[in-house]
């Protein structure tokens, strides 16, 4: 009989299976490609730059010169001023709708009530005091001039995008692998494969290889979208970006392998995945900088794989840094990859 089908090397056949399974599964496509685009779009719009925002301050009604204070502050372009009765003003401050209360004292002094731990309240105090002092006739000894800079690169969306890429690489690597493996284990397909001369390493490598192919697509689609809609610039080299992404992808595939190495149910593996990923959603500087956390936690946060990946992606995309600037981050990713892979191979349950 003439042979119609050509059979390739097992690694190629296994990788083809992984890719086909993925492409034939509509929901997975959305989570890998659609979701990061939607998230970028939503957050990019929510935090778009609409000119400098006005600071809301409230003048307390009651004192006889409160109307004068209100008029003086309303003249300032940086402030949005309310004029409210005392109890309502206090309420507005309490619920955070206003940053600062101004009371006009009887002796011509001003009293500012605000929460000093809120940065915008401190900024409001400076702006209000400045406006009132000038109104009362203060003369500044030196002239000053503002030069405003709002270039792409310093906006929130520029900060956000590399983090979203990192987050997405983590999610798609881990979910893709974890669910795939547990499903095959439940269907006893893993056991069936273990009964063939298939090499374990080929099987596990096929997961990594298929991830790499999607990685390139994922990077291209999300970066292209961000470029078109928000003008996000890619400052570093594509080679550096791909190398960093490879390290990240290998790392999370390896972690996913470990997490899914023994789980028998999808619920079980979901729980472990979330346990591992949730802290990094918050800690690893995806949506806000991790430098807000206390100093003593920073070394711990920096050895998390997502932190390392986000930092490296950010430095390549936003700062145009090369690989040499990211030795530490790449080392962290490599260490997680190797350790998890070794443990996963030892613990892996084929049935």
């Amino acid at each position: 009989m003439p042979e119609l089908v050509k059979v390739h090397h097992p690694l190629i056949e296994l990788t083809k299976v992984r890719i086909r399974e993925f492409l034939r599964q509509g929901e997975a496509l959305f989570w890998v490609f659609g979701f990061p685009i939607l998230l970028t779009l939503a957050l990019g719009i929510a935090f778009r730059n609409t000119g400098p925002e006005k600071v809301v301050v409230t003048v307390e009604d009651g004192a006889k010169n409160s109307a004068d204070v209100f008029a003086a502050l309303s003249a300032s372009p940086d402030l949005k001023v309310n004029h409210l009765p005392a109890d309502e003003a206090a309420h507005q401050l309490r619920i955070g709708k206003t940053t600062l209360l101004v009371q006009a004292g009887d002796n011509g002094a001003y009293i500012y009530r605000y929460d000093p731990t809120r940065p915008e309240s401190r900024a409001a105090r400076l702006a209000v005091d400045d406006a009132l002092q000038r109104h009362r006739g203060r003369v500044d000894p030196a002239a000053s001039r503002d030069e405003k800079v709002t270039e792409p690169g310093s906006r929130y969306v520029d900060f956000l995008l590399p983090g979203l890429l990192g987050l997405n690489m983590m999610g798609s690597s881990m979910w893709g692998l974890g669910f795939g493996l547990v499903d095959m284990r439940q269907k006893r397909l893993l056991k069936r494969l273990a009964a063939t001369p298939m090499r374990r390493s080929h099987f596990l490598l096929s997961f990594m290889l298929s991830r790499l192919i999607f990685l390139v697509l994922e990077l291209g689609i999300v970066l292209g979208f961000a470029r078109l809609t928000f003008g996000v610039q890619m400052r570093g080299s594509w080679i550096a970006l791909i190398v960093v992404s490879l390290f990240g992808s290998f790392c999370f595939t390896s972690v996913g392998l470990l997490v899914a190495s023994r789980a028998r149910t999808l619920e079980g593996v979901s729980g472990w995945m979330n346990l591992f990923m949730m802290p990094m959603w918050l800690l690893s500087g995806t949506f806000f900088s991790y430098s807000r956390f206390p100093d003593f936690t920073l070394p711990l946060i920096r050895v998390l794989p997502l932190t390392a990946l986000n930092d490296a992606l950010r430095s390549v995309i936003s700062e145009g840094a090369g690989l040499a600037n990211n030795n530490l981050e790449l080392a962290v990713l490599a260490a997680w990859s190797v350790l998890c892979f070794i443990f996963a191979l030892r613990l892996f349950r084929w049935q």
Binding site: V7, I12, E13, R188, A194, A195, T196, P197
Partner: protein, 310 residues
């Protein structure tokens, strides 16, 4: 050299002994059946033979080779090259087509049939581009057997290959097995269908509680009943068994959980006498069937239980 030789096989799961000192010898070219109720240890035995489950005791020799205890060695792969394995309840990926699934399995083996030839062997030509999720139960099972045949194995393991299939699908699979045997291959089959064992197997081992309780060709085992007809009946009260056992033509009376079996030479001789005896004892029949003696009756005789309880 036997195709399979195992001695004093033991496997325990906690306090449950699944396989309890099992000896088995399957000759090359033979079709050997492991027969028994669910939980008898058939699947555990087969998976030990296949190298998937390490035994707690005993030795296994397949085609003259042994499994190395450390997994994933070259020696194990060399042995796996020669085995065809169909596991109970393997579900192949529903999103792959028949052809893609077979290509993947074929790629694991150095030698074997072509994918096209294997598809033809199990008569799935028309379904080759269909996804596994669209196949019927019988077609899925034929695909499982195709994956076991794709490397042209010397020894084929089939674990309940026809459970849950309709009669036509079962016949199809039997033909595939018969075809494989024409090429000189050895088959180890587990089943709880008597007809399947009688049709396909040269010899069967009846298993219960992890042990072989009877061994021989289906004909020999049936002949061991001593008579080739069986009357199955039950009554609405307590039967005096001695009297029933002495009825004309009765070889043996076997009591089981519900009712009795009489092994007899000639049904037409014993039946009228049985009716008269039941009436004499003041009882009434609540069920009555007669059939040619089968392996099922052998199992009932040995254990007092029905084989196909599941």
């Amino acid at each position: 050299m036997p195709a399979i030789l195992c001695q004093s096989l033991i496997k325990k799961y906690g306090s449950l002994t699944a396989v309890n000192g099992l000896d088995l010898r399957v000759e090359s070219g033979e079709c050997f059946g492991l027969l028994g109720p669910n939980g008898a240890g058939k699947t555990t035995t087969v998976e030990i033979l296949e190298g998937l489950t390490p035994p707690d005791g005993g030795t296994v020799e397949l085609l003259g080779a042994q499994w190395s205890r450390g997994r994933d060695t070259e020696a194990d792969r060399a042995l796996q090259e020669r085995l065809g394995i169909q596991l109970q309840e393997t579900q192949f990926s529903e999103k792959m087509t028949v052809e893609e699934t077979l290509c993947m399995f074929r790629s694991f083996f150095r030698h074997g049939h072509g994918v096209d030839e294997t598809i033809a062997r199990v008569s799935l030509e028309e379904k080759r581009h269909d996804r596994v999720g669209q196949l019927s139960g019988g077609q899925k099972q034929r695909l499982a057997v195709a994956c076991a045949l794709v490397n042209s194995p010397d020894l084929l393991f089939l674990d309940e290959p026809t459970t849950g299939l309709d009669p036509q699908a079962r016949l199809n699979l039997w033909e595939v097995v018969a075809e494989f045997r024409k090429g000189g291959g050895t088959v180890l089959l587990t089943t709880h269908y008597m007809e399947e064992a009688e049709r396909l197997c040269d010899r069967v081992a009846i298993m219960d509680h992890g042990q072989v309780i009877a061994l021989g060709s289906p004909e020999e085992l049936i002949a061991s009943l001593g008579a080739n007809q069986v009357i199955e009946f039950s009554v609405d009260g307590k039967l005096q068994q001695d009297a029933a056992a002495k009825l004309p033509g009765v070889h043996e009376l076997i009591a089981r959980e519900a009712g009795f079996l009489l092994t007899v030479e000639q049904t037409q001789v014993t039946l009228p006498a049985l009716f008269a005896e039941i009436e004499r004892q003041g009882l009434h029949l609540t069920a009555l069937t007669t059939h040619r003696a089968t392996l099922e009756d052998v199992f009932v005789k040995l254990t007092g239980r029905v084989l196909r309880d599941a």
